[in-house]
Symmetry: C2
Subunit: 354 residues, 2 copies
């Protein structure tokens, strides 16, 4: 190692999920929405003047913050926006998780929590979820430096109710509790309603799933003014202008089109339940999903074999080669047509093996 | 202070520069380019399909990285892109500046260097530039944890030559040396040509000034493969998908239009030199700018009085209420028409005071 390399921060490099790009592939591996954004977004794109691209965007992202505050019944001072919920969560880790005590999150959850903790040198413990992938709330009663969990959880797809979240908050009033609600719009109940009662609660959401805008990188957090101010102080100390002009102007329009949003979600939920049904008939164990994906396993066939067969047919799903979940597949809910292809491919696999 | 507030990271909140928004104002306060981006960017915006917004962008930003590598005669593995050069520099600080020895940068320079150092708990020292705002290279011969300087420097507008940079590199081969070239295209000489000889050199540039795209948030770094890989490892550990789809597709087109780029820069340099000339005739001391702004002071009148008068006329420039430069104004080079208004307003001020 050369001298100049000695002070480079060594991180376990996170490997972004595969982004295959074949004609006619079916992409069910990164939980993107199969439908395009609202037509209002299309219109905003057309009307966006490139003359404003020469100007710095509003550092407060006021247009978008105000729209979100209004939509979720919050004050402007209670909303933070960032470059996808990954950016929002990363800023939250850097801002709030500075205790020497370990932070807590489930052993099976979004893989980035341990990545941020490692990056920022935050100690952590990961209490195991039970054999049904349920979080034991008692595991979160001990002393800690902060708590984060996803609701619904990923990649398991299952959700907890508000009572569960309140119980965790009741037992942890001296640390920040972050609820990552990336998938909340597909059937879960948001903890947003608890913000007025728990000033240590931060709720994080994203435009990437339910609003069909993964490619725009827009995430947000809601919490009491003190939390949001602390996050903005850190954000302004990293990069004052994170949200580019298109993300502000197009993001606002996505929020404004409530009818499209509801219709989009209902279609996905309908397709999800149909797909679940079909998979169960084929002998799969399918967890009760409140997300836009299904977490599935088969008692007779190995997940990696099914994964490989689907891949042969240019159907891409996600397989995590990790302890406890290596025999599961995470399958994004696509269009009805895509899910029919997916089911047909599974049926062929089963026929060949029967 | 409540218990849950105890582990919040306390930072001196950086206050983003004023973003006034009046009809018919003249905005010369944030060094934006007065001309819109290339017509090719307009065309790319029109052709951008909103269908791709539902998909995550390519985490490697390959399209943009490849175009930049090709343009600057680098390999793909030698180019890193981020959300404006602030994001790029912040990642560089987090990645490279982890020594216990202080990093070094001039006392008068871009205000964010100390902000990032404070945020990431990096010790630093700020050797004073001389009375002509020149950096004393001998100040950078001592032991340190890394070096960063802007060339041309901000807000002073003056540049150093390659010999100067090489001297600093020769004396600092065991730490990372970052050259922040936000303004390089307006007359400075890039250190890009030194990258093959100094593997500890990182060169950072931006689309915000010379490419008229402050509103798109695109910055980049060039350096040897080992440096760029280390930055990408950290970046992927913060947020795998930082560059949204519009920034990738529109960014590429800005690079492709070399004629427009050159024409734009030449216009600004021409206007800059004319404005400098006029200001000198009015008794101003004007530093020799290699940027798209002028750093000026008047022996008889206080900078803050001139600032206030200009503001009255809806002409916004930048005044830093900081030691050593409080009697200076930083004036962005706008269009010829804008600079004529600016000069006229100064003339009126001088007449009133005479």
């Amino acid at each position: 190692m050369k001298d100049w390399e000695k002070n480079i921060r060594i991180v376990e490099p996170y490997v972004p999920g595969e982004q295959p790009n074949f004609p006619e592939m079916i992409k069910l591996n990164t939980n993107e929405n199969p439908y395009p954004p609202s037509p209002r977004v299309q219109k905003a794109k057309e009307e966006l003047s490139i003359d404003i691209l020469r100007l710095y965007p509003d550092p407060t992202s006021n247009l978008l913050v105000e729209e979100l505050a209004n939509y979720y019944g919050r004050k402007k001072e209670q909303v933070f926006v960032g470059v996808g919920s990954d950016d929002v969560l990363s800023v939250a880790f850097l801002t709030f998780l500075n205790s020497k005590k370990p932070i807590l999150f489930p052993d099976i959850t979004y893989s980035f929590y341990s990545v941020w903790a490692d990056l920022y040198r935050i100690p952590y413990e990961r209490p195991a979820v039970d054999e049904n992938f349920q979080i034991n709330k008692e595991d979160y009663y001990k002393e800690n430096g902060g708590i984060i969990f996803a609701n619904p959880n990923a990649p398991t797809s299952i959700s907890v109710d508000l009572e569960f979240i309140e119980d965790i908050l009741e037992h942890n009033q001296d640390v920040i509790v972050i609820v990552d609600e990336a998938y909340i719009d597909f059937g879960g109940i948001s903890a947003n309603s608890l913000i007025d009662r728990y000033e240590n609660l931060l709720v994080v959401q994203t435009f990437s799933k339910s609003r069909s805008m993964a490619g725009m990188r827009i995430g947000f957090a809601m919490g009491n003014e003190r939390l949001i101010k602390a996050m903005n102080d850190v954000k302004y100390s990293i990069n004052s202008y994170t949200m580019n002009q298109p993300s502000l102007y197009l993001g606002v329009e996505a929020i404004k089109d409530e009818d499209y949003f509801r219709e989009n979600i209902n279609k996905i939920i309908f397709t999800r339940e149909n797909t679940k049904n079909s998979l169960e008939k084929l002998g799969f164990d399918v967890l009760d999903s409140k997300t836009n994906f299904l977490f599935i396993s088969h008692s007779q066939y190995k997940a990696e074999d099914i994964f490989a067969e689907l891949r042969e047919n240019k159907i891409f799903v996600r397989h995590f080669n990790l302890p406890r979940i290596s025999n599961y597949l995470r399958v994004t809910v696509g269009t009805d047509a895509e899910m029919e292809c997916f089911i047909r491919s599974i049926e062929e696999f089963l026929l060949k093996r029967a």
